[in-house]
Structure formats: C-alpha cells, structure tokens
C-alpha cells in the first residue's frame, strides 16, 4: 500500500493526497539542495576572484626601506665640528641642535611623503609589553618613538607597519641604540 501511494502520479490528488505531498516535499528537497550547491559555488568563485585580484600583484612582504637605511648610515657618518654624528650621539646619549636639525632636514625632507611618522633618536633596550623591546627617548626634533603596536577599539591591538633601523651605541648601565623608525601610511 505504501509503495503504491508513493509511486502515484501528481495528477491523481483526490485519490492519494498524501502521496502528492510526499512527492512535492521530496522534489523541494532536491531543488533547495541544488540552489544551496549553486550558491556555495558562486560564493567560492566570488571569493577566488576577489583573492586573485588582490594578490596577483606581488609586493615586498617584509617591509624595509633600503634607501632610507642608506641615508641613515650616511647621516651617522657625517662630520659636524670634527666629529661624526654617531660619536656625538654616543657621547650625548641623544640628539643635539646640530645633528637633530640635520636629521630633520634629511629624513623629513626626503621621506615625509612616504611615511606617516618618522623618528630618529636614541633607544634603550628594556622590558616591553611582549618580551624585550626598544624604548625610545623622546627628543625635541621628532618627539616620541612610534610604536609598532597601536591600540584600537574595545582594548584591541594591531601591528602597525613600522620599519626600524638601529645601530648599537654603548652598553653602560643600559644597552643604547641610535635608531630611525619609519611608520608606513595607512
């Protein structure tokens, strides 16, 4: 009796109304399943094309600036009053009027358009939020050292694309470095 009911055509509703409902529900299941499969496939194609459009242009992953690094080295080798800037910063443990203004002239002059924040100064290796980290000494020319970690909404933190170039200065009570930091725009 069950089989008979199940296999009746759609056009005999008055005789087997239950069979018609079963067939409609079974047919609907397939239609819904097909639509779901097609939606999943279309979504996958959309994701793939989106991924492809954004990833087909290869850029340098680890952000560094070769030319800024070259400028930084030349800056430290520049002589002022018979002494190079590296030695002067090492002796003073910070920038002075002469080398601070030259640093502003070089780094702000050449790279201001490329970076959102530029900082040159002396850093001390110490304990940070995540293990050891550099703590920059504030100076009157560049202000505070930009952090690579920025705080966001609801206490969240994000890593900001910042490139640091550092050279060891001295190891008295603390390990000091002369450092240039370039925070990327965006």
């Amino acid at each position: 009796m069950y089989n008979k009911e199940k296999n009746q055509g759609f056009f005999s509703p008055s005789i087997f109304p239950k069979s018609r409902r079963a067939q409609i529900s079974e047919g609907l299941t397939w239609v819904v399943a097909t639509i779901v499969i097609i939606i999943i496939l279309l979504f996958s194609i959309f994701i793939t094309s989106f991924y492809v459009s954004s990833k087909k242009s290869i850029d340098i992953d680890s952000f560094s600036d070769f030319h800024a690094q070259k400028s930084f080295l030349s800056y430290l080798l520049t002589n002022q009053n018979q002494e190079n800037i590296y030695s002067k910063i090492k002796a003073d443990s910070n920038l002075n009027n002469d080398n601070g203004n030259l640093a502003l002239q070089i780094f702000n002059g050449l790279y201001k358009d490329d970076y959102s924040q530029i900082w040159v100064g002396v850093s001390i290796l110490g304990e940070g939020l995540i293990g050891t980290s550099m703590n920059g000494i504030e100076n009157e020319f560049f202000g505070r050292r930009p952090s690579s970690v920025v705080s966001g909404a609801m206490g969240s933190v994000a890593v900001k694309d910042t490139y640091y170039s550092a050279l060891f200065l001295k190891n008295d009570t603390e390990q000091k470095f002369v450092e240039a930091a370039f925070a990327k725009k965006g």
Binding site: N7, I37, L41, K56, I58, I60, L73, S74, T78, Y111
Partner: protein, 169 residues
C-alpha cells in the same frame, strides 16, 4: 511490475541529477583554478625596486659616495660599472623594457651636480603617473650620501619596468 518500473525511472532521474551536479561542481572548480593560475603574477614592483637598490648600491656603499661617480665618463660607462644589463630577450620586438634615470644634487643648495644618467627606453616615462591597467611600473627613490671629503649629496633614482605582456593580462 509497475512499482519496479517507476522505481527504476526515479533512480535514473536521480542519477542524471547527480551527474549534472557533478558537472557543475567540476566546472566551478576548473573555473576557480583557471582564475588563480590563468593570470600571471605581477612582479614588476619588486623588480623596479631591486633595480633601484642596485643602482643606489652602485652610487654609494658603506655610507660614502663611490669614487668615480662624479667623474665625466661615469655616464657613458654607467651600465658596465654598475653591472647592469637592460636587454630583455623575452621581448625581442620591444624598444627596451627598462628605463633608469639617476641625478645627483648638492644637498645644501639642491643644485644638480653632474648631468643626469639616462639609460634604457625613455618612452616608458610617459606611463608614470598615468592611470590605467597596462602601464609600466615606476619606482622613484631618493637618498642622502656623503663623499670622503664630507660633502653631502641627494641622489634621486627613477627606475621603470614595462614588461606588460608577461605580467598583466
């Protein structure tokens, strides 16, 4: 007997349905793979930056301007001295796929010191700053350097890589 025939018919319909689904899924997978691997990767940005770095290294190393950079014959022997080869055998029809322009300025006065070095295909320069998909990639870099006599310089380097055919579709 009727029941059996109907059952077979239903099974056939379902097999056709599954086959159709299989074809759709396979087609979608093939389309996605062709999307990923069908288009070339555009590596010209890296290429232009590497070229600019090599040119910068040729001008200044270890913080000091290299000797000979300011001499009059440096412009003529620039490619040879910097170990650069701008030939592109994959693009035999083109007039050159690269362009390099380098200028040295006095850092204090901003005056151009030596005449600018210009090598490669200068027509590519038109594409810099223009908007469009199939355009050459330009990389403009500047850096500060000093010579052994402590004279300071600003060096501007412009490198352009075309290679549109192999990098953009």
């Amino acid at each position: 007997m009727i029941i059996n025939k109907n059952k077979k018919g239903a099974e056939k319909t379902i097999s056709v349905y599954w086959f159709a689904i299989l074809v759709i899924v396979a087609g979608a997978v093939i389309y996605m793979v062709s999307l990923v691997y069908g288009q070339p990767y555009d590596v010209r940005k890296i290429e232009s930056e590497i070229l600019a770095s090599n040119v910068a290294d040729c001008f200044s190393k270890g913080g000091y301007l290299n000797e000979g950079v300011l001499t009059s014959n440096f412009n003529q022997t620039f490619l040879e001295k910097c170990n650069l080869n701008l030939d592109s055998p994959d693009f035999s029809q083109s007039q050159g796929e690269y362009y390099i322009e380098a200028s040295i300025y006095d850092f204090e006065t901003n005056a151009l010191i030596a005449s600018s070095i210009k090598e490669g295909n200068p027509n590519l320069k038109i594409g810099c700053g223009a908007e469009g998909n199939k355009l050459p990639v330009c990389s403009e870099k500047s850096f500060y350097s000093i010579d052994r006599e402590q004279k300071s310089y600003k060096i501007n380097i412009l490198t352009i890589v075309n290679k549109v055919e192999k990098n953009v579709q």
